[in-house]
Amino acid sequence: MLFTQPEFLIFFLGVLAAVWMTGRLPLRNAILLSASYYFYAYWDVRFCLLLVFSTLIDFCISHAMDSSVNATFRRRLLILSIIVNLGVLGFFKYFNFFIDSAAPIIESLGASASTLNIILPVGVSFYTFQTLSYTIDVYRRVLRPSKSLLEFALFVAFFPQLVAGPIVRARELLPQLATTPTWSNRRFYGGFQQLLRGAVKKVLMADRLGEMADVVFANPDYYSSSTTWLAVFAYAGQIYLDFSGYTDMAIGAAKMLGYRFPKNFRHPYLATSMADFWHRWHMTLSRWLRDYLYIPLGGSRKSSAVTYRNLMLTMTLGGLWHGAAWTFVLWGVLHGTALCVERSTRGLIPLQLPKIVRWTGVMIVVQVGWVLFRSPDLQAAGIMLQKMIVPSLGIHWYPPLVIGVLGCLAAEHLAWMTSLRRAMRLPWDAWYSPIATTVILWALLLYAPAGFQPFVYFQF
């Protein structure tokens, strides 16, 4: 069930009514848990078994860890949790990738390198990371395990963030689930406006950009250099608007239910350094990688060489998390390399470089990265990059809507840096909010592209 489908609207209205009409906590959580499992089963009921398995394993492991003082036993339990969670992820997401990549070796040993017909459960990358963070935090004793299986199961399966994040920490959500939210007009309205903002980003903007990006990336050799550049910008806009739009809808829906989720984006295309970019893009994944991979590897506390190794490993695995393809790995390597270069040149290159120069450098790296990220294979990525660097002939195609949407995106970014930021949230007390809200609702109904496009990050 997509957030932008009419079925979700009806489902969500029903859940809203049910949870706000019931005051008692266990019942409220039970309603939300049932709704979350129904939401997930809407895709494929078989996926729910995986969710139950993941929930029960980590609930039991966390309690066993917490009640033991034997460090070795606790460590073994943690390793078990990691193996189970990453094993699930590895099998469903990466089995065929590894088989295909190792096929020459496997076949040279006389074995058959046949792949399996595996369906990727929606959201598996997100909820396995979420439950992993829970067990690691319990192991580190920064968190007590949840006493309530109901609350923990809801933490894992909570539908607004189940399929594409944000990756919420247990210490952020579990305490909220343990108390009954109180009604707040302001929070409900704020959640509604954020939900609406997300829908605009996804339906009116991202999907329109995707109409061009999909066509050009499918046949990169057909188009001229200028069209290729426009398509790359279109994809950059699409992935940001699609993902941040989804996040806004998730955060907005949670707010309307009475819960607070962490931010996931902070206008990443305003970043003036690669490090800054990763403090603005998919922030919950960035902090997960930092806290559970980068820092345990040693972070930047040891020698420069180790720091660079840790950066490269973290970003490469971060790339691989996004998908089982070498283009995603290369994307991670590119960002890791850029971070290493930036770190190593600190102090060598004057920080007084104009912001616009630093911003341009970041944008070049990011756009090249998106070419790798989006291209169906390395060959297509190579063609796209060549066309971006070497002027070449081809079909000229400049969709006015794409240019318009990109213009709106740029204007929104610039406006966000000014006092217009508050106005853009359509505050409750502003005279223009009812007018703007009505226009948005009509626009969603009238101007959405035909058909429902899945969110890009659903495939991760």
């Binding site: 009419p6 079925e7 009806i10 489902f11 129904y38 089963a41 809407y42 895709w43 494929d44 009921v45 078989r46 996926f47 997401k93 065929n96 595996i118 369906i119 990727l120 929606v122 999909d214 066509v215 499918a218 046949n219 057909y222 998908g323 089982a324 393809a325 995603f328 989006r374 291209s375 169906p376 294979d377 002939l393 081809g394 079909i395 195609w397 400049y398 969709p399 006015p400 809507l401 005279w431 223009y432 909010s433 009812p434 007018i435 703007a436 809200t437 009505t438 226009v439 609702l441 009509w442 109904l445 009238l446 101007y447 035909a450 058909g451 429902f452 899945p454 890009v456 659903f458 495939q459």
Partner: protein, 362 residues
């Protein structure tokens, strides 16, 4: 919150909703197509929009088409009497010939007349093409219009050769029920287009089938089934197959059927889409028959006394110069409907061909 505040808030939001809707109402003609009332034209016997209306088209191209007598798109004048020396052509086809994607002055009929005018020929083209029509719809109309409107030549523009095969099928015009027609016209006359558009989007899927809601759990085998790995990375443009062979058709019989609809000259213009493919920089769309089959069809047409004009080479030449005859910037270049360039090419080729016809002077 006291009741006074609550009333103020409600009033503020109602007023805001009203103003917001007004904003949409005023701006929607820039983005939303028309929904026009229609009627069964007594001469043609088919459903057409009413003369005097304007049809807005806003996706894939951007134009407003004036509707003339007998539902002709882009032609608002129809002199009662034929002028001395005037040569009248009836233009048949589907949406490719109808040309609602381009402004009236760039539509095919106007381009033909402009070229003829430049060479001192008085040619009037009456556009009778309708979206979705094929030979099953054209043939019954031909004898109805040709006498009443003093037609000299029937010009049939086909983008898909398969449209000619339908000559041996019975036409099915959708609207016969006068009550349905009356309701449809009442709604389209009295409700603004944006309301109709919104209603249509709510009640129907993009393919115009009635919308149904699904609340059952999955898996459901649909186009949006469970994601299989990196789906968007696995989207490759399926390499166009070698030109598809249509099922065995008796083209002699088809052409005889077309021939039997009128005693007047018939010119079939074959103008398929051309594309860039993985194996050639320009090629005819892979779903069309191969050149050998087209040659057979041409032969069958000639045997039946029907002239055939093949635009393929002209299109391929234009495409090789990066001037694509199909597609729009607000659609996809190279795909979809004929654009101004495409109509120019076709009009030039037709104008050259017309010299070979003997004109019957009134």
């Amino acid at each position: 919150m006291n009741s006074f505040n609550a009333n103020r808030i409600v009033a503020k939001w109602l007023l805001g909703a009203l103003f917001g809707t007004l904003v949409i109402a005023l701006t929607s003609p820039l983005f939303v197509r028309s929904y026009l009332p229609s009627h069964v034209d007594p001469l043609r016997g088919v459903v057409v929009p009413l003369a005097g209306d304007f049809y807005r088209w806003r996706s894939e191209g951007y134009a407003t088409t004036a509707i003339g007598p007998h539902g002709m798109p882009g032609r608002v004048d129809l002199p009662e009497a034929k002028a001395n020396g005037e040569f009248r052509i009836a233009l048949w086809g589907d949406s490719q010939a109808e040309g609602v994607c381009v402004p009236d002055e760039h539509k095919l009929h106007r381009q033909i007349e402009r070229i003829a005018d430049a060479s001192q020929r008085e040619i009037v083209v009456l556009p009778f093409a309708r979206s979705g029509d094929d030979a099953a719809e054209w043939l019954p109309q031909i004898p109805r219009v040709e006498g009443a409107l003093a037609i000299d030549l029937h010009l049939i523009l086909v983008a898909e050769i398969g449209d000619l095969e339908m000559a041996q099928r019975t036409a099915t015009d959708p609207v016969v029920d006068p009550h349905w027609q009356a309701n449809h016209n009442f709604i389209s006359t009295n409700l603004p287009a944006f309301i109709l558009h919104a209603g249509r989007r709510l009640l129907r899927f993009p393919d115009d089938t009635p919308r149904t809601l699904r609340f059952s759990i999955g898996p459901i085998v649909t186009d949006h089934a469970a994601v299989q790995g990196n789906d968007h990375k696995a989207i490759h443009d399926t390499p166009l197959s070698l030109a598809a062979e249509p099922p065995q058709t008796d083209w002699s019989s088809v052409m005889q059927t077309i021939r039997s609809s009128t005693d007047l000259p018939i010119l079939i213009v074959y103008a398929p889409r051309v594309q860039r493919t993985r194996i050639a920089p320009v090629a005819v769309e892979g779903t069309e028959p191969n050149p050998e089959t087209i040659a057979e069809i041409t032969q069958a047409a000639q045997s039946a006394g029907i002239s055939m004009l093949d635009i393929r080479q002209a299109f391929l030449k234009s495409a090789s110069l990066n001037q694509w005859p199909h597609g729009f910037h607000n659609g996809i270049i190279m795909q979809g409907h004929l654009n101004e360039t495409g109509y120019q090419i076709i009009a030039s080729e037709i104008a050259n061909q017309l010299d070979s016809f003997s004109f019957s002077h009134p």
